[in-house]
């Protein structure tokens, strides 16, 4: 794929967003000032579970500068419960606790004051009388009948219990020569952006309009606020020109937004809630999956893995949130990149008295990949086979695409073996093995980690109808508008906020490619939600496919109009015309340049083809490729595109200290046609760093009383520049047949495989001692303790 196929695409170009950020001129929600703005501080529950008997805010209300104290009872009388995608009507969630608190940190009530400092001072003067209740923290215990339901009205802690059987699982297990089973646990962590969530709501009673500025990454955000507040959809105006300081899935903030929206309307003022770090970690409702996997695999002597049974039990926390659906996305790549013939999948989601989950990078795929890759390592160990050879034996071959997996998705394209060969060559794999053995000879524990996995991208949110049959979603569209002004300048509108993904660069590059105009001359704007076409925000690695696709299609429509105008003017059949860098050239050499077309379209209606509208503008609302059908028989084509990544990592540690040191990190990455190389590489590096954190450091740990222990950056450890090594990306390009340029998603790359790879490396290092680490994160204390226990 090295021929210069594109003028701007896949070429090294500076992301246009970077200029304002390096100057400190990003516009984040906390940077915005509104007239007479009020500030909100929430009061956190001390109890993991308690019945609220009374809340006395009178002392707080008497303080100068305190305007209001809002309770859950007041809110529950005024707003609808927050959206819950499951049919669990008795698991009701409001922004503030109503009647009972269900986790330590949950917002009991909220103070509204003239400044955040005053609001925080006032929290100390609120008297809450509450009676502690039994609580449950562990997911397996939550399943027991003897456990107290987090929501007594719901009757149990079970949110989701679905069993799928795809293919002849029992027959494959019976026919296979061997089988083994194991359990692994993915610890509770999250993306923890450096900017906490924040939102400003401002009510204008004369216009009957609620303006919202938020650090948001959420599909159908305005709709959800309108439904909860009982306002018409067109009374909510979300401003998309707010920069978001990182999200990677979690910046949903719906409870915060409904709370400040309600207060803004009640008081007729602008109201702001910016989480502090403690609120963000304890009650931002932005934790990620906490998942236990029980896996069994059936395989033959030659390493062929025939079938897999997987039970995935997820600890959702106190309310449904998005947690149950994060068991759904992995169905779309449930066999990873392997030719596993049949799968049984049991997805369980339970409530516990922990913080609520939100969507996290990969939407459940990274934990599942960790379980699948652990299975591959265990099979290799069982058979005494090389881990790499085992994977190569089971991988789907390049000539088998499109490849239908048992759960109903076709993988679009790929050449997994070629990517792995490239990585092995780039890393000098024999030398890496020799280095591992040298480290071992020097008394270190050293291991190599291997992980191969897929990044499903650009889908329809089909896990919703798959897990909830009353949900009939079969589109997850995205839109783009393009206008060429009377001076010939191109402006495109996108209908979302961005949190570092470079969507302005994406759209300007693609429009530049289609129109053959320098992308730097194309302006990208972000109108508010009322001026926008339908879209679903940057989730599920979808924007290169869907926003890029919509931009390309809008550009093609514009180009088609230009060609029609030129054909009419030159009296030539349109098929005979050539478009070149904005000019249109006839076979006889006559041409119209860009400015001629602008003059015709904008001023000379009499020169346009009959019936053609004046001006040069277009838009496109794009449907998800391959996403036409609802699920049937527990199967669905969930994503159009599947990117591939292969991780190879060498880790060592001192057997007494146990602190892992990553010596070298290679990743082979094939996400089809790359739009902007620096952006894609950056997301991959960042995803790997995030995955190293999940593998080694990061966990929201609770004590036996349900109190969150890791609630600051001193306890919740994120990788610094010392923990993340230099990373070598080996690129490969297998275009997708389903997208305009062959692009696939890349927003979750790196994170999907690095936890599995790092875990594999550490397990390889201790394999000689017969140790298996079966829970992430694998902290240095766990490593040194396990080795010490074996030695003593």
């Amino acid at each position: 794929m090295s021929e210069p196929k594109y003028k701007f695409l896949s070429t090294p170009r500076r992301p246009v967003e970077d200029r304002r950020f390096v100057a400190g001129r990003g516009k984040y929600v906390a940077d915005l000032e509104r007239p007479d703005m009020l500030h909100v501080a929430p009061l956190a529950s001390h109890h993991a579970a308690a019945v609220i008997n009374s809340i006395d805010g009178s002392k707080a209300l008497a303080m100068p500068g305190v305007i209001d104290v809002i309770t859950g009872d007041e809110l529950a009388g005024a707003v609808q419960p927050l959206m819950n995608g499951l049919n669990t009507p008795n698991v009701r969630r409001f922004p503030l606790a109503v009647g009972r608190v269900r986790y330590a940190g949950e917002w009991v009530c909220a103070v509204v004051a003239e400044s955040r400092a005053i609001a925080e001072d006032a929290l100390e003067n609120i008297i809450v009388d509450a009676t502690p209740q039994p609580f449950v923290l562990d997911a397996e215990q939550a399943l027991l009948d003897s456990s107290t339901p987090v929501h007594p009205e719901h009757g149990s802690n079970l949110l989701l219990d679905r069993k799928f059987v795809w293919g002849p699982v029992d027959e494959d297990f019976a026919a296979a020569a061997h089988s083994l089973s194991f359990s692994v646990t993915w610890g509770r962590n999250s993306t923890v952006p450096i900017e906490t969530f924040g939102v400003i709501a401002e009510w204008n009673g004369w216009d009957q309009m609620l303006d919202i500025w938020a650090s948001i990454q959420m599909p159908k955000y305005a709709d959800q606020i309108a439904r909860s507040l009982g306002l018409p959809g067109n009374a909510i105006r979300v401003h998309y020109d707010v920069d978001v300081g990182g999200s990677y899935g979690v910046k949903r903030g719906i409870k915060h937004s409904v709370l400040v929206g309600y207060v803004a309307r009640k008081l007729g003022r602008a109201v702001r809630l910016i989480e502090d770090r403690l609120e963000n970690m304890r009650a931002g409702d932005a934790h990620g999956p906490e998942r236990k996997f029980d896996v069994a695999v059936a395989f033959d002597d030659d390493g062929t893995v025939r079938a897999m049974k997987m039970r995935a039990l997820d600890n959702a926390g106190a309310y449904a949130g998005r947690a149950p659906f994060q068991l759904g996305k992995p169905i779309s790549a449930i066999v990873g990149p392997y030719k596993i013939n049949s799968v049984a999948y049991h997805a369980l989601s339970v409530t516990t008295n922990k913080t609520v989950q939100e969507a996290v990078r990969g939407f459940g795929q990274a934990p599942t990949n960790y379980a699948i890759e652990t299975a591959m390592d265990r099979v290799a160990e069982y058979l005494g086979m090389d881990r790499l050879a085992l994977r190569q034996h089971n991988l789907i071959r390049a000539d088998q695409f499109p490849y239908l997996i048992p759960s109903g998705s076709h993988y679009d394209s790929g050449d997994y073996h070629a990517v792995i060969d490239k990585v092995l060559a780039a890393a000098d794999y024999p030398a890496m093995l020799a280095e591992r053995d040298r480290l071992r000879a020097d008394g270190m524990m050293a291991g190599i980690g291997i992980a191969a996995c897929l990044e499903p991208s650009g889908g329809n949110s089909s896990f919703e109808p798959l897990l909830n049959e009353s949900n009939k979603t079969s589109t997850w569209m995205e839109s783009c508008q393009v206008n060429v002004d009377a001076l010939g300048c191109v402006t495109a509108r996108i209908h979302t906020t961005s949190s570092g993904q470079g969507h302005e660069t994406l759209v300007s590059t693609i429009l530049g490619e289609v129109l053959q105009i320098n992308p730097e001359l194309i302006r990208i704007t972000r109108p508010n939600s009322l001026e926008s076409l339908p879209g679903n925000s940057p989730v599920g690695s979808r924007m290169a496919i869907m926003l890029g696709g919509a931009a390309a299609r809008a550009g093609e429509k514009l180009k088609a109009k230009i060609m029609a105008i030129a054909a009419h003017h030159l009296a030539v059949d349109v098929d005979q015309l050539r478009y070149e860098s904005g000019d249109v050239i006839a076979p006889d050499g006559r041409s119209l340049v860009w400015d001629d077309m602008i003059e015709l379209a904008h001023r000379q209606y009499h020169s346009l083809p009959d019936g053609m509208d004046p001006g040069l503008a277009s838009f496109d609302i794009m449907q998800v490729p391959t996403g036409e059908a609802l699920p049937a028989d527990g199967k669905v084509q969930m994503y159009p595109c599947y990117a591939f990544e292969f991780h190879l990592v060498l880790v060592s540690f001192d057997p007494i200290i146990g602190r892992p040191d990553i010596h070298s990190y290679f990743i082979g990455h094939d996400c089809g046609t790359v739009i902007n190389p620096a952006i894609v590489s950056g997301m991959t590096y960042g995803g790997i760093a995030h995955g190293i954190g999940a593998a080694l450091f990061e966990e929201f740990a609770y004590d036996a009383n349900g109190q969150l222990l890791t609630q600051s950056f001193l306890d919740y450890l994120m990788p610094s520049s010392h923990e993340v090594p230099a990373i070598n990306i080996v690129k490969h390009c297998t275009p997708s047949p389903h997208t305009v340029f062959g692009q696939k998603g890349s927003g979750e790359s790196g994170y999907l495989g690095s936890p599995a790879a790092v875990s594999g490396a550490i397990n390889d290092a201790v394999a000689g001692l017969g140790i298996h680490f079966e829970k992430l994160p694998i902290r240095m204390s766990a490593i040194s303790d396990a080795i010490a226990a074996k030695s003593s």
Partner: protein
């Protein structure tokens, strides 16, 4: 409340200020300089990094009243000599060239940490760069392109013709 007068990017700013107000909040809410960001407000993430007499300091851990009598440089005070709006300094330009950022939230702190390093070490090793930014958490990039950006900036700073003054001089 007493008047607190600070020297920020070469200009004097004065306002009646509660003793408990942090330098971070003073910069953002009093001086109106929004480029300094709050990340953790307990001194770990480095998003609020400013330069105090040229040294990187976490403005969330310093009270505004403690900052009287020192020279404070924020991201708004960084740039080429006599920089105007739209003109980038060499380090900022290198961050754009290497795409040493994504969401931009930690970026001002990273650039100030890089300024502090390169003002005392013209030819840092990769290890020196990683050490200099190790107190600044970035969640987007995995640091790879940030390290590239700072190494590139160091090279360009060494190669520039202008030897008159370091970049730290406020505009």
């Amino acid at each position: 409340m007493n008047d607190v007068t600070l020297s920020i990017n070469g200009k004097a700013v004065s306002a009646a200020t509660e003793p408990r107000v942090t330098l971070l909040d003073y910069l953002r809410d009093v001086a109106g300089l929004k480029g300094t960001h709050a990340g953790c407000e307990h001194g770990v993430c480095g998003a609020c990094t400013v330069l105090v007499d040229g040294d990187p300091v976490r403005s969330c851990l310093m009270l505004a009243v403690q900052a009287e009598g020192v020279d404070i440089t924020t991201i708004e005070g960084i740039g080429g000599l006599g920089a105007r709006a739209g003109e980038l300094g060499i380090i900022q330009d290198a961050f754009c060239e290497a795409h040493g950022l994504q969401c931009g939230y930690c970026t001002p702190g990273m650039i100030l940490a890089a300024e502090a390093l390169l003002s005392v070490n013209a030819a840092p090793s990769e290890h020196d760069v990683r050490e200099a930014i190790s107190g600044n958490i970035c969640r987007c990039t995995g640091y790879v392109q940030i390290v590239e950006a700072i190494m590139l900036a160091a090279k360009r700073l060494r190669q520039r013709n202008d030897t008159s003054a370091p970049d730290l001089t406020p505009a």
